[in-house]
């Protein structure tokens, strides 16, 4: 019978698990990676199809994936089915938990928006008095951001804004299209900056763990991986007080097995890592675990039309590309209705406009669609959600998943701070657009339900004080020195930025630290 003790057990294979595997194995440390889902074989698992070939004409199976707004009938099989892995919430406080268990996790479908947090996030309490500061600053993470940006091949434009730190970018030399220039000039009159988007180019349009991180780890010969196994719990060696074993179940056969490890690195995604620790009843002497669930508001925005691009006059020079208005509120002045800030994504294109932008039908609608074709210009908010202790997850013992593992109950909601922020974003964006001469077609002030952004963060926050935080500044458990949690659960505040760059940089930094501690014999 096999009874090996692995050096480092990594649970999860997304950006954070992949980064830890790459760094640790390249330093000569043997790792075993467990992943809850299968390895996607894209040529075997996919086919190009027309919507009419699908059973529901592209509508997706009714009732399937009600919380995954991003799903459609083409991609429905890539998301975790909540009948198989359920979670609960108050019906009046919905939460969209969007999950992927394929090997590589959600990194397979990442939109590749690549931003750093600034000290307006890391030291937010110092700036405005709310919440808590992180135990690290941008300067601590900057060298790791730079390395991650190099691996991911981030393309961007230097903006020289303290709230939007520049980085190790591949220069974006594409010219601004005509409509963006007009929007930008209109924003400048209000002292609102606009920058080119910052995007990971990756390889062939994919910036995933499976093509940027894990190949390097496997190339060392130091990484082994087991797909289709779901970790049920971690246990502690009573003689050492350290975590030393993971108990998992085979997804298909339901065979129960265990593996021993000297170090455990949790990278299962914010809420799955927290769920595993809560089920294991570990690393929570602070009582903070599960609390301070945060994310970002999405869904509020507006759509408009650029008059000069109508009636067949749309060109790439006038209508193409995207841009971002980075946070500009509560930087040098103080808003009365909300703390922190938001960014606005802005994009234009030469394609068609959605029919729901016109309150008409039939031949009249068809005429509108033809006239307005190629003139669409839209924006959407990415806004910070404040960290609040009452927004939390806990184990729902009465509800178990398909393998008998207790589920999560998620309790979170937005407050006036988020709603006022969303309203300000839409109103301000529309004023800029109208001043630029664009016609507003549709607007929406209401954020999508919490979780929609797929940027769930917190619940194992880091901090210097073991009484008020789960992890130290190295993503290491205060309670168990051989346990590291390196996904988004360590976040103290969310910021407005897509968190992938920060998660990856933190994972790299934690892995560097872990390797050094192992070399010194401290772990």
């Amino acid at each position: 019978m096999a009874d090996e003790t692995v050096d480092v057990l990594i649970i999860g294979s997304g950006h954070s698990g992949g980064m830890a595997a790459k760094i640790l194995t390249q330093k000569g440390i043997s790792c075993l990676m467990l992943n809850a889902g299968p390895v996607a074989d894209v040529p075997r698992d996919t086919a190009v199809k027309a919507a009419y070939e699908l059973p529901y004409r592209g509508f997706k199976q009714p009732g399937q994936l009600p919380h995954v707004f991003q799903s459609n009938e083409f991609n429905a099989n890539t998301w975790v089915d909540e009948k198989e892995v359920p979670y609960t919430h108050d019906p009046q406080k919905p939460y969209n938990w969007v999950r992927v268990r394929l090997f590589g996790g959600r990194s397979l479908f990442w939109s590749r928006a690549s931003f750093r947090l600034s000290d307006y996030e890391f030291k937010a309490k110092t700036h405005d008095g709310y919440g808590d500061d992180w135990p690290i600053s941008h300067a601590d993470l900057a060298p790791y951001y730079a390395r991650v940006e190099g691996i991911f091949r981030v393309q961007g434009e230097l903006a020289n804004l303290p709230q939007f730190p520049d980085g190790n970018f591949i220069p974006d030399t594409d010219p601004w299209c005509g409509s963006m220039q007009r929007f930008r000039a209109s924003a400048a009159k209000r002292n609102i900056p606009i920058s080119k988007q910052r995007t990971s180019l990756g390889l062939d349009g994919l910036a995933s763990s499976v093509n940027l991180l894990l190949p390097d780890a496997f190339a060392t010969g130091k990484l082994r991986a087991i797909p289709n196994v779901i970790v049920r719990s971690l246990t502690v060696d009573k003689s050492t007080g350290l975590v030393n074993e993971a108990h998992f179940v085979d997804r298909l056969t339901r065979r129960e097995m265990s593996v021993k490890a000297r170090v455990v690195v949790l990278a299962a995604g914010t809420l799955e890592s927290t769920r595993l620790l809560l089920n294991s009843q570990l690393a929570n002497s602070s009582g903070v675990m599960g609390h301070y669930l945060i994310d970002q508001i999405y869904g509020a925005g507006f759509a408009c039309s650029v008059p000069e691009a109508r009636n067949g006059r749309s060109t790439e020079q006038l209508m193409s590309g995207s841009a971002i208005i980075p946070r500009f509120r509560n930087i040098s002045s103080r808003e009365s209705k909300f703390l922190r800030g938001y960014a606005l994504n802005v994009w234009s294109g030469t394609g068609g406009i959605e029919p729901r932008n016109f309150a008409t039908y039939g031949a009249e609608l068809q005429q509108k669609l033809e006239t307005y074709h190629g003139s669409g210009f839209s924006t959407g908010i990415m806004g910070e959600v404040l960290a609040r202790r009452e927004n939390h997850v806990r184990i729902s013992k009465d509800v178990v998943d398909a393998w008998g593992i207790p589920s999560l109950h998620i309790e979170t909601n937005y407050t006036d701070n988020e709603f006022n922020m969303a309203r300000d974003a839409v109103d301000t964006g529309m004023q800029i657009a109208e001043d630029a001469g664009f016609e507003i077609l549709t607007k929406n002030y209401d954020p999508n339900p919490p979780g929609y952004s797929i940027h769930e963060l917190g619940t194992c926050r880091m901090g210097d004080d073991p009484k008020s935080s789960v992890l130290n500044k190295w993503n290491q458990s205060h309670d168990l020195k051989n346990l590291f949690v390196i996904d988004g659960s360590s976040f103290v505040s969310a910021g407005w930025q897509n968190p992938t760059m920060t998660i990856s940089a933190l994972a790299m930094r934690a892995a560097d630290y872990l390797a050094e501690q192992m070399r010194l014999g401290n772990v």
Binding site: D41, A76, T235
Partner: protein
């Protein structure tokens, strides 16, 4: 069959042979069954592997077959058909919603939908019909385009993705409009029209099959083994 079982079978046959011979001398001695063929290419498998792809093409059943069952009542279905005619008539060589089989498809889609969606859809159709009776003393299915417009247009709204109107009747009118357009433009009839016009089928994308589907089924019990977490 394992080799051990195979040996047992031979021994059993040998032991039974004298008695069998005593009863029926004419029957030849029992011979053991041949060992099963190992998995691998057998002649018909080779044939399958070498068979050419049949020219079945991309034909879906609802492009030519009629559904045998209907979820909506006759009255509701007639209302839906008229809405389809009004919201998306045929235009410039492309089929309208009726030609695309949209009423029949939406009837099926609603039949498979959660109860709240079914209620919203059916009560919306009923209200539309009721308002036609109230204003024009006729079923909605028999209203003129002008009459139908008076009933529909006040409820039309613009809306952003994921945020259809919240008021229930506004929600019904705007979502059914969206669904009629989507079902029509995602039909094979629409695709055929696009090809006739020298254009490509719209809404073509990468479809993901289920990857190693889970074996869990209703009623399937977990192994009755104490796991470590419980130990």
């Amino acid at each position: 069959m394992q080799r051990r079982d195979f040996v047992k079978a031979i021994l059993a046959a040998t032991a039974a042979a004298p008695a069998a011979l005593a009863q029926q001398q004419a029957v030849p001695a029992a011979t053991p069954p041949p060992p099963p063929t190992a998995p691998g290419p057998v002649p018909w498998m080779r044939g399958l592997m070498e068979a050419k792809q049949l020219p079945i093409g991309l034909l879906v059943a609802d492009s030519l077959a009629r559904p045998d069952a209907r979820y909506l009542s006759d009255r509701q279905f007639a209302t839906l058909r008229h809405l389809c005619e009004i919201f998306q008539p045929s235009s410039k060589g492309y089929p309208g919603a009726l030609e695309a089989g949209t009423p029949e498809f939406l009837d099926f889609l609603i039949s498979a939908s959660p109860a709240d969606r079914q209620h919203s859809f059916q009560s919306g159709l009923d209200r539309l019909d009721s308002e036609a009776q109230q204003h024009f003393s006729t079923a909605f299915a028999s209203t003129s385009p002008q009459q139908a417009d008076q009933l529909i247009r006040p409820w039309l709204r613009t809306w952003m993705s994921d945020h259809p109107p919240a008021e229930p009747y506004e929600n019904f009118i705007n979502l059914i409009h969206h669904d009629i357009r989507t079902a029509t433009e995602n039909s094979q009839a629409w695709s055929d029209a696009a090809h006739r016009a020298g254009k490509q089928t719209p809404n073509v994308d990468l479809y993901w099959y289920a990857t190693d589907p889970d074996l869990h089924r209703e009623g399937h019990s977990l192994p009755q083994i104490q796991n470590h977490a419980k130990a």
